[in-house]
Subunit: 377 residues, 2 copies
């Protein structure tokens, strides 16, 4: 069926970055301890809520300074010590080969039976995933720098030309589904070439995005439109951050009027609590929330067809979010969340279509973008 051609070097994988020497340093330190007949250990910053704080100055959710030691000569830590070095060595191999792997693939690569025993290095992927996060914080590298990728999700369109794995792509002419944002968006994979966009409009869902794309919103408004297919994946967050930082593009976010929408905005803006150590590479503290706001029901004279009743978990979640340190001190956010609770209902971006198919793209969003007073920060 198939005639194999001579193989060319892969042009898809990221190039050797800083993670490789950091992994070597980690390994060397362990070897040195062993040589000095000391108990080999690795210092790992604590990844728990108690070690996470909001930094008022950077406006990032950040990790604190707490660390814990993982020792080889400790019955409770020996297995995880070994697993950490094993995952580290597999990542080093990936980097050296110029290849990448999914976290599932790294699990399969690192899983084996220890000679002479029936003991497996990993019983389950749920054991290797946290080890990857440990390694990221231990050597202060993003997962993508370790050559690991997640599922890719999210698309964009607009007047930007970029180079992705060697191919030059004009995102104003990428077809009806737009440019597919990959999982790894580091500078060695993606470079920006030309950009005529003046801002980025990020929406939650692909179906909403398609409305904007079909109506050629990006062309009319000189902007980039992107979506993350729900909670944006790491690749999309990293690319948004890089376009914001390197191309000086303001980021506007349009999400459903529900606690989940608030949460997505919170993650885009300040970083996530679970993965706080990534904030400095992913968070966009200047991102603005333009809607859907709880006040839009009256402001836009919506019919009650768009109301979706809040349930108990919505109410609980909304109150939690109101108490996030980065929302707690902001009166406009407190008003916004309180209004949702008073309304007793939530609304989707797509609800704006109940007025008219083009209301969302031709009236609502331009109105929101043009009136700074309606932005939430």
């Amino acid at each position: 069926m198939t005639n194999k051609k001579p193989k060319r070097a892969s042009s898809r994988a990221p190039k050797n970055g800083k993670a490789s020497p950091k992994l070597e340093d980690l390994a060397r330190a362990v070897v040195a301890m062993a040589a000095r007949e000391k108990d080999p250990s690795i210092e790992i910053p604590t990844r728990s809520l108690s070690n996470v704080a909001y930094n008022e100055k950077t406006r990032h959710v950040e990790m604190g300074a707490n660390k814990q030691s993982r020792n080889f000569f400790n019955y409770g830590q020996a297995k995880r010590f070994m697993q950490t070095l094993l995952v580290g060595s597999k990542c080093k191999e990936l980097i050296d080969m110029g290849k990448t792997a999914s976290i599932r693939q790294i699990y399969y690569l690192a899983k084996h039976t220890i000679k002479g025993t029936k003991e497996k290095t990993f019983d389950d992927q749920s054991e290797s995933d946290p080890i990857i996060e440990d390694l990221e914080v231990a050597i202060n590298a993003l997962r993508e720098e370790l050559h690991l990728f997640a599922s890719n999700r999210g698309n964009l369109a607009g007047p930007i030309t970029l180079v992705d794995a060697g191919s030059t792509l004009d995102c104003a002419a990428m077809g009806s589904a737009g440019y597919a944002v990959p999982s790894i968006c580091e500078p060695d994979v993606i470079q920006f070439k030309k950009c005529k966009a003046k801002f980025i409009l990020h929406v939650e869902k692909d179906t909403v995005w398609r409305r904007f794309h079909e109506d050629r919103f990006w062309e009319q408004h000189d902007c980039i439109i992107s979506h993350g297919g729900g909670q944006p994946a790491r690749g999309m967050r990293r690319l948004l951050r890089r376009m914001h930082e390197e191309l000086k593009l303001p980021v506007f976010v349009l999400l459903d009027n529900d606690p989940w929408g608030y949460y997505i905005y919170s993650v885009i803006k300040h970083g996530s609590i679970n993965l706080a150590f990534e904030s400095r590479r992913m968070a966009i503290p200047d991102a603005k929330f333009i809607g859907v706001s709880s006040f839009d029901y009256e402001r836009c004279d919506m019919s009650d067809d768009v109301k979706i009743e809040l349930d108990a978990s919505d109410i609980k979640r909304a109150k939690q979010i109101a108490n996030y340190p980065w929302f707690a001190g902001k009166r406009p956010w407190q008003r916004e969340i309180k209004k949702m609770l008073t309304n007793g209902f939530k609304m989707e971006v797509e609800a704006m279509i109940s007025k008219d198919l083009s209301y969302l793209t031709e009236e609502y969003t331009p109105m929101k973008l043009n009136d700074k007073k309606q932005w939430l920060d």
Copy 2:
């Protein structure tokens, strides 16, 4: 923030097709019945398992001839009669405007309160979704021809140049996530321009696809590699079918060795039971299953690290699938499924990586493609 430019006609939406006159015919028939003072009604083919059969000749899962009448002067049918006409008229508007909408958006477009009452035309999207399917079968048109889209999912890469919504795209140079396959892949949106590929390799998951893409499998083997992010969405199935039919490309499918993998293959090959009326536009009866086979554990000398124990629902599902009429008569499939049950475990495509990161793309898949005896039909 934004300066609105003069608007251009959308180039993203499909052009007027055959669905528009069919919708008009439906409406005219209803009007004519009313004019003759007859009870207005619509004939809708029955969408239930009892009206689905496997056609041995076409090798499609097909709908039977059973129909049911939906009448206006019938207390139990009046609401759904009205809903059917309402959704039909909204689709006609979409077609006339040259725009498309998601099934969520059509729900919002068609939902309103009936004048002088508190009655809503639709209480919930769960009411409008089946009406859309009714309409599809009633006028014998694909959802996409009614200008409705689903979420888009799936990517491809390889030596094929296509035109998507007016943009010419070389899928051999579309970046690390490949060409994003849209939800609507009808000929008025996507045209094939140039194709040097000799076959299509379709895999289940994007993480597996990335392995093939990074290793430039499509370049070495002159093929197109595609994935559907799990069960392929309608857009991907339609595009695979069109490439198979119009470009004469054989389709090879590589899926996890579990009942879900068998099921995905079954849908790609013969069509789905729930949406049997689409088979004639989506099914690929000549598609071949190349793996992962239950016999590959021994054939490829895998270690027991790759075994994932079958649970009760896997076993039940495998037995159901073995009884599908299109598998029941095929000895190789019976052997394959029986072997999985005897093994007592399932395996993922990614498990092939446990040997070596490149084993999957450099040894396993070429071996499978080159040995016809290992294909399952």
